[in-house]
């Protein structure tokens, strides 16, 4: 790291740190959805990245529609898109659970294959509908630009917005999981599905809504994603690997672990990317991760209760 003064290094860390915040936000939202689904029914949703892309394309579609028909609405459409991304991706998740996944719960390997197949189908549909080229929505003015914190450090506004959005969604998920009666049913089913049925919980209904919720959150991640990069048919695939890393590293059972792990992975990559190339940064992060997992195979935060 020679050639940089301490002041410059500090600024680099801060700025790369802030640009890492967008990545952190997207990864956290993705990992939340993935972990909720995995925790509830043991399904690893290989199509999770495509549900994110659904959210991104929804945002793009909203942007084009607004531009052509209600240009005056442009400053506000993005907020509406986030809600719509959640609803569209959630509805598609609900459908996927109903048509495909619920028939395979007792066969974990088959769900892996089935959701992988689903991801391919979805990718091809994106290609047919939106074309192979990457698209991006026109972001409203207020999302662009940066806030100059000091003369060396600029904080991107979109990063702050996405972070705020992520905090709201995460708090919402926490509330739902830990304070609502619906969340109680989810947690009961996660711990003992058979017994949950025997205390009167309709576990299949819980499954369907949990899957829809997880996919809906991926949709929100997709809307957030449009602020940092453009969307193509394979966008989902690019992010799913990082998301898996976050979930495995955090320990699938712990929401706190997911947050901590999304933060460290996103920051490590973002800060390293400044000094070495992007792919090297990824390799390096992965290596460290593997090393840590060798010593803590259950992930960063495993829950400590005797069974």
């Amino acid at each position: 790291m020679g050639g940089y003064s301490y002041g410059e290094l500090g600024a680099i860390f801060a700025m790369q740190g802030f640009s890492g915040i967008s990545l952190f936000s997207v990864l956290l939202l993705m990992a939340l959805g993935l972990a909720i689904i995995f925790g509830q029914m043991g399904v690893i949703n290989m199509a999770h990245g495509e549900f994110m892309a659904v959210g991104a394309y929804t945002t793009y579609l909203m942007s084009s529609l607004t531009e052509s028909f209600f240009p005056a609405f442009l400053p506000y459409y993005f907020i509406l898109s986030i809600a719509l991304a959640f609803i569209v991706a959630g509805a598609m998740g609900y459908l996927a659970e109903y048509v495909l996944i619920r028939h395979l719960y007792s066969r974990p390997l088959d769900t892996l294959l089935a959701t992988w197949g689903l991801s391919l189908i979805m990718q091809q549909s994106f290609r047919s509908i939106f074309g192979a080229r990457e698209v991006s929505p026109t972001l409203p003015e207020w999302l662009l630009g940066a806030y100059p914190a000091t003369d060396m450090i600029d904080i991107p506004i979109n990063g702050l917005f996405v972070l705020g959005l992520t905090i709201v969604v995460t708090l919402g998920v926490f509330y739902l999981m830990f304070k609502s009666s619906w969340g109680l049913r989810v947690r009961a089913t996660t711990q003992n599905r058979v017994m949950s049925g025997a205390v009167g919980i309709n576990t299949k209904k819980i499954d369907r809504f949990t899957f829809a919720l997880g996919c809906g959150i991926a949709g929100i991640a997709g809307a957030a994603f449009t602020t940092i990069a453009s969307t193509g048919p394979t966008t989902g695939t690019l992010y799913i690997v990082d998301t898996f890393m976050v979930v495995v590293f955090g320990g699938a059972a712990s929401l706190f672990g997911t947050i901590a792990s999304a933060f460290s992975i996103a920051q490590a990559q973002s800060i390293l990317e400044f000094f070495i190339s992007g792919s090297m940064a990824k390799v390096f992060t992965l290596l460290v991760l593997v090393l840590i997992l060798m010593f803590k195979p259950e992930g960063l935060f495993a829950s400590k209760v005797r069974r």
Binding site: Q191, N192, M195, A198, V199, I201
Partner: protein
Amino acid sequence: MLDVANLKVSYGQSEVIHGLNFTAKKNETLAVMGRNGMGKTTLFKSLIGVLPLSGGSIHIDGTDISKCESYQRVENGVAYVPQGRMIFPNLTVQENIETGMGVSKLKAIPDDIYALFPVLHEMRHRKGGNLSGGQQQQLAIARALVTNPKVLLLDEPTEGIQPSIIKDIANVLNEIKKMRDITIIVSEQVLSFTMAVADRIIVIDKGNFIHEDLRDDVDTDKIKGYLSV
């Protein structure tokens, strides 16, 4: 109240319950006694719908529930306290009880539940997994009771529990009978416990009922004979 006709249950090809017939009336407590591996748990699991029937029917108040899933049977008034208790270890005591309240639409845990099990009130914020076996048994009973059942199924509630607590559990069951109009079906190997709670005793052997008696007419030596190997 509960009508079971020609009930058959199999694991794969092997039939374990061979066409049982019995009824249990309102306010009656029925004990099913039998040695290890005679099919008590299998019978109870099929009643609550954890295991499918391979034949026969179950009616509750005239409604056929034999095709229903577990949660629908709970909605129809069956509650289940399994062998080994099966409380949710990572939920608090209070949350464990609340899992049963979705069916009965209760908003808060009724006072009479905590009156029956004062220790659960004391420990309501602890994780269920950190309770002792006897406390977990009380928790499992409380969780079943808040569904407001017509029929309460208890599978070996005394297993692994010390004698003084066994007496407590017998008192609790008798208390529940006084408080509610409820049918209790309990499987047991401890005769003294059965004699303290049951109105009628049935002995199960290799998936068949081989003996039945009202509690007041029971020949304890004969039942002991059935229960010893």
